[in-house]
Amino acid sequence: MTRLSGGVIDRSRTLSFTFDGQAYQGHPGDTLASALLANGVRLMGRSFKYHRPRGVLSAGSEEPNALVELRTGARREPNTRATVVELFDGLEAKSQNRWPSLSFDALAVNDLFAPFFAAGFYYKTFMWPKAFWEKVYEPAIRRAAGLGSLSMLPDPDAYDKGFLHCDLLVIGGGAAGLSAALTAARSGARVILADEDFRLGGRLLAESGPFTDQSVDAWIAGLEAEFASLPNLRVMRRTTVWGAYDHGIFAALERVADHLSTPGEGVRQTLWRITAKRAVLAAGATERHIPFANNDRPGIMLSGALRAYANRWAVRPAERVAIFTNNDDGHRTALDLRAKGVEVAAVVDSRAEAKVLGDYPLLAGALVTGSRGRLGLKAIRVAQHGRDQWIPCGALGVSGGWNPNVHLASHHRGRPVWDEAQQTFLPGEEGPPGLIPAGAAVGEGSTHAALMSGARAAVKALDALGIKASPPNLPEAEDRPLGLKPLWHVPGKARAWVDFQNDVTVKDIALAHQENMRPVEHLKRWTTLGMATDQGKTANVTALAVMAELTGKTIPETGTTIFRPPYTPVSLSALGGGNTGTHFRPRRLTPTHVWAEGRGAVFVEVGQWMRAQYFPRPGEKTWRETVDREVLATRAGVGICDVTTLGKIDVQGKDAGAFLNRIYCNAMASLKVGMVRYGLMLREDGQAWDDGTCARLAEDQYVVTTTTAQAGPIYRHMEFCRQGLWPELDVQLISTTDAWAQLSVAGPQARVLLERIVDGFDLSNAAFPFMACGELTIAGGLRARLFRISFSGELAYEIAVPARYGAALMGRLVSLGADLGATPYGTEALGVLRIEKGHAAGNELNGQTTAQMLGMGRMVSVKKDSIGAVQSRREGMAADSRRLVGLVPVAATDPVVAGSHLFTEGAVHNTGTDQGWITSACYSPHVGSAIGLGFLTEGEARQGEVVIAANPLEGQAIRLRVVSPHFVDPEGGRLRV
């Protein structure tokens, strides 16, 4: 262990962890990166394309190099940045993208062939033969290039999502963010302070003595205590605000348990949706590096990162350290390292006028032009006054200035603007409304400026909300200028890396320039610059400057770069928020669901509903056997089916009849109280939309039903018509789908069975005829509704009771009807029964059919206006001669396949000769063969004709005879007994 003095780590406890199987130790407060560095491990990964040995570049979330696979088994997580992984006891990490080992990687041979792998290489090379791309080239490239690998096992952890509201959201807990949060919280406003780190302080933790009148530790400890006492402030550590969305909504990821080996009973991560009236963007700044030849060796890192490792984590990065800088910030690193007893070999400053600020050798007007050390830095080559020298060192800190973290400010496409004085992009004016950037994120980078800027931003934000706030007493802090003189890269012949994660060099940018890929968007896509998991946080601005130099334009002329969410990678598990498996979408269960489960029913998904599909009995070998039995039992005795899922809408008011007259194409106002009528709804363009029944329970009350699938849309549509189109009508609607359990009781014994359960209600044909409805009580006082309607073609009723009695009613009917052969049936038998009867259902009402096609053309009333009536009379609609017909195979054993298209016998099969299609098909135990329903040109006049049902997918062409769609009781006698 090579630890320095000081640091914000808890030396009283030791944590054990492994990297590539090797055991190491660290302390609470360490990140994986700081602990590895403290153990002398500089090599942490291999680069994406060339498999170059790489070490850590940064000390924060911008890290492009040190990506590791964390944890094992199902919890293995690839591409985790070692710089933000909080160390825990037992942590297991592995390097990635190397084989067989990190220090010897066979694919590093790619690096030797680098001249062939320049930007655009793949586009130009792997073009022929075309078929090779998918089968050979892409799999090979994907194996060779790449990052970590997934466990391929289901994620065992729980994830959650949550919603928060506040007056002010402060994004970032550094100097500016803390100052803003303190200012706002003391005003009484509702404040959320979110920071991605596990410790508040941001860059303050990485600096030595940024305050002149007190210590950072003491100030933050005081703040933490005050924050804890303020109920109007919520401090969210380990929480990255990663996206700015419309209307003040921000997305944030809280890593609730990522710092533990397993989340235990709790959630691992929570996705927060924060609605903020105002926000302060105090996201700080990211240091930029300066590309020079071979600037990617382990040990070469950002100067500010070097300083952070020494100050916050007490890490001695190497025995001898050098600095390469174009501004005074690099000198600060040298001073801090010196103060901690680290030998500073040299500060190489590109500025000729640079002054030495302490006890270290300064090479002013000098450049770093190369480096040595295959698996870790050994020496740097420095050019000064035309002379080269090699300086041995184990670490090099590079400082090219700081890029404000403008990311969230550009999430609404607000373009950052170039600031010539500071040589940086600052957040533009057109950022998300209500988002005020502060501190280093807006170029106010000195500690003093950041503190002041944060407080000012909070005051301004709250003032807009009418909340008075005033800046608190803030620490006296350093306020030194950077004195930066731009140096974007060191010219040279060897490769100098710009984007470490995607292996993009200055040469690649030059090639892009040469190939005329000059606009920034082309440059990015051609070279893949900035398109890795770090989204170019340390690369984009530098690349832009290099391109500007090549084109001879200024940086703002060359372009700008904006960012999209997420700020840092967000796992899909977190975005799913726990909505996996059966939680993926809600399931609606019918009132008889549990009862049906007890009977061994097989269920089928119908939209969100789970419906009983059929009820197998012991000994039945196929579903067909079961369904045939259910159908025959219904037609012979009585069958019972749960039809609760049909939409039920209660329509009440003086004008209920007039309203329904306009909703349905047929007349509803004329319906007598106590009667039911079939209703067909059209869309405004004249096509058939949905059907159901309207039962008039009272002068001013109807109950209408919709199909299961359209229950929601129809209700929404009816509300729109009521509120938007005809507000003058006195009518109110409510959906009662879930309030009433509704059972269909069908078959010749239906009346006998119901007589056993009603409280003296007269069910005789005279008193309660076909299409009657009424309210009654059953089973000794339970209120119920009875409708004499039939979907099966048999004598049938639908009986509705309050939903909680549905299962009991089902059980009672089945047991009371045992001697009558009472049989529960599912959706499969329901479908067979209705196809046999020739009733239209969803297959026939598919949005492409008309009332005429359904044989209901005459139902469209011409005496009144209704939705779709005008358009249904259009010439083209009225001329459609296709009609619903029944179809049976000529050879009784032939199948009837829904979806087959119909052709005249002998005709060629193409769209020009197409005569219609089969909508529904089933095996009919009543007919004794397969049967179907379909739409056929001139269908009404073609009964008896043989047509061909073509199913080219399976090479089928089956001869079918056209028959009446009513296979059962075409006269309807059975309904009326």
Binding site: H412, D685, F720, P727, D865, A869
Partner: protein
């Protein structure tokens, strides 16, 4: 993700609402000719900028209302409180 100001319930998350499209008044059925009906059914202005559009608080009070939204910025410019606007 947006917040939609329901005239009845106040601002609520987008997920509670259902979109009803641009406001196009339904023609009088009888005098209207084919062109009028065609425009009503199929023609939308699709502006880049303010658009008057319908929303329904489907998972809330079920109120239909119209508001003016800038389709480029999602800024909501105007929310009539009147109940019926067609």
């Amino acid at each position: 993700m947006e917040r939609i100001p329901c005239p009845h319930c106040g601002p609520r998350p987008l997920a509670e609402f259902s979109y009803g499209g641009e406001v196009v008044p339904r023609p009088d059925p009888e005098p209207a000719d084919d062109a009028t009906w065609g425009a009503y059914l199929y023609v939308r202005s699709n502006p880049k900028g303010p658009q008057s559009e319908r929303w329904v608080h489907i998972h809330g009070c079920r109120r239909w209302f119209t508001l003016t939204r800038d389709t480029a910025t999602h800024r909501i410019l105007d929310t009539p409180l009147r109940k019926e606007e067609a």
